[in-house]
């Protein structure tokens, strides 16, 4: 019954490719981009030290915050999600407002 792990991944990937909507794929792309930016900053802080600590916090929080908000958007617009009864438009407006507030805070704090 055991299958080749590579085949498992291929199966997952092909199923993702076939069944996921394009909107969700775009969201996922954006998520990966935010995740990588966050990881890079974290590595950078280990490399040069935490001197402008407020700048680091602002930069890192901007990626984390964006990531969390985008995850929220993804759950709300996912057609598989039958529990939440919020329209995609409403979800996007929420996402928009939250992002504006987040970036206001981030640019105020970045120094």
């Amino acid at each position: 019954m055991t299958e080749n792990p590579l085949k498992v991944f291929q199966k997952i990937f092909s199923s993702y490719k076939n069944t996921t909507t394009q909107t969700l794929k775009i969201i996922d792309c954006f998520l990966v981009f935010q995740f990588l930016t966050g990881i890079l900053q974290f590595a950078y802080v280990f490399l040069v030290g935490k001197f402008p600590f407020n700048s680091f916090l602002a930069g890192f929080i901007s990626t984390v915050g964006c990531f969390v908000l985008t995850i929220n958007l993804r759950t709300l617009v996912d057609p598989e999600n039958k529990e939440t009864k919020v329209s995609a438009k409403r979800a996007f407006v929420d996402f928009l407002i939250c992002n504006v507030i987040l970036h206001l805070a981030v640019f105020n704090y970045i120094g």
Binding site: T37, G59, F92
Partner: protein, 424 residues
């Protein structure tokens, strides 16, 4: 016209060349017996030659007042009361409290009022009638062994002055006293040799004497916080011509300690106290954390002949204090000008700080200067901006913003071909 100019010239010349006592020349000399002044003429002449104006008064005389109509008539006083003459203690303590110096000499037969005066200066004389006796260090020919010779001086250069180089021993005949060893204001200038003791001369000793050896102080002083100096000697004879003419160092010793007592040495003053930021010359009421500060002050010492001369020392410290000192720095001395200065960075902590210069050196006038200079934190716009190290963080925040913008456009213009969630 010409004679007037000539006299002005003579006057200025005389004031420049002659020595000048710091607080004025008027000196009261209170004696038990006015006729005794010839016995101490050498000592008194040393004052007259330095420009003091001595006024001889009888100590027990009611008219011998130091104050008239609320003003002091004298700038300093000498009290030579050997036998049981009464003096006005309250008057003299007031005189001392006003910052005026007093030299007190007494003998074994001292009166209660002199003892009271000494207690007012935290110096305690031994019982009336007692003498300091030493069977090893005494003047030859003295059968009672009460004229003792001591070499036990304090090591305060300012007090004993030139006598430091020429330690011949001092002849002393009189009563001992007790002074607390750790007292911050009292000095034990001359102590008895370790072989001496204090007792009645004509009585047999059955108990251990109250004061023995090094504990006995022969000459002590008090330096008050109000700049007065009070000198106490248990022996009036040590100032006498007989003792001055002996082969011992009485003459120089007595003159040196007397000139210290009358502020001819060790009297310091502050001048040009200032501090400012290292890059500006303006003195500020407050500074910011981590400011570089330059602090400087000039300290001068009074010299009776030369006037104010630069003070030379390497132990003057400045402190920056908020409850406890955050910074304590030794000031660098420029010996030619008497300027003391240093440079330091203020601490990274805001609050109500003080600059504190407390200079308490034994034998010198205390210098206490405290100035409140608060320390403020950075203003909002004083923080460093656009630090090169932080560029990646700026970049990431901008990327997030741009990404969000692009994502929003793509999200809005994207339409799923199938399986679209229906809006309600």
């Amino acid at each position: 016209m010409k004679p007037i100019l000539f006299w002005i010239f003579v006057l200025t010349l005389s004031t420049v060349s002659s020595s000048k006592p710091l607080f004025g020349p008027k000196t009261a000399v209170l004696l038990g017996n006015i006729d005794d002044k010839h016995k101490y003429s050498q000592f008194f002449d040393s004052f007259t030659s330095k420009g003091y104006d001595l006024n001889f008064l009888r100590a027990s005389n009611q008219d011998a007042t130091l104050k008239k109509f609320g003003e002091y008539l004298y700038d300093q006083a000498i009290l030579f009361v050997g036998k049981s003459e009464e003096i006005n203690v309250v008057d003299i303590l007031d005189f001392i409290d006003s910052g005026r110096s007093v030299i007190v000499a007494t003998s074994s037969g001292l009166s209660d009022s002199v003892r009271e005066l000494a207690i007012g200066c935290s110096i305690e004389f031994d019982e009336q009638g007692m003498s300091v006796v030493d069977h090893f260090n005494f003047k030859s020919g003295d059968k009672e062994h009460t004229s003792i010779i001591t070499n036990n001086f304090c090591d305060i250069p300012s007090v004993i002055g030139d006598f430091e180089q020429d330690k011949k021993g001092v002849l002393f005949k009189g009563i001992g006293m007790k002074v607390q060893k750790n007292s911050p204001l009292n000095y034990r200038i001359l102590n008895a040799p370790s072989t001496s003791y204090s007792s009645f001369v004509d009585e047999k000793i059955t108990k251990k004497p109250f004061l023995i050896g090094n504990e006995i102080t022969l000459v002590a002083a008090l330096q008050t916080r109000g700049d007065a100096r009070v000198l106490f000697s248990g022996s009036i004879d040590m100032f006498s011509n007989d003792f001055f003419d002996s082969k011992y160092g009485n003459s120089l010793f007595c003159q040196e300690i007397a000139s210290w007592a009358f502020n001819e040495r060790g009297f310091l003053r502050l001048r040009d106290y200032t501090h400012h930021k290292a890059n500006s010359m303006v003195k500020q009421d407050y500074y910011r954390i981590k400011d570089d500060i330059e602090f400087s002050v000039t300290i001068e010492e009074y010299d009776i002949v030369k006037g104010w001369v630069p003070y030379v020392a390497n132990d003057v410290q400045i402190e920056y204090v908020m409850l406890s000192p955050y910074i304590r720095k030794t000031l660098f001395n420029y010996p030619k000008t008497g300027k003391f200065s240093t440079r330091f960075t203020l601490p990274d902590k805001h609050g109500t700080f003080k600059f504190r210069l407390h200079y308490h050196k034994r034998g010198y006038r205390f210098i206490e200067k405290v100035e409140e200079i608060p320390l403020k934190p950075f203003w909002h716009n004083e923080y460093e901006r656009f630090i090169p190290v932080a560029y990646p963080y700026y970049l990431s925040a901008i990327l997030m913003l741009v990404g969000f913008f692009l994502f929003s456009i793509i999200f809005l213009y994207n339409e799923d071909k199938n399986n679209t969630r229906k809006d309600k």
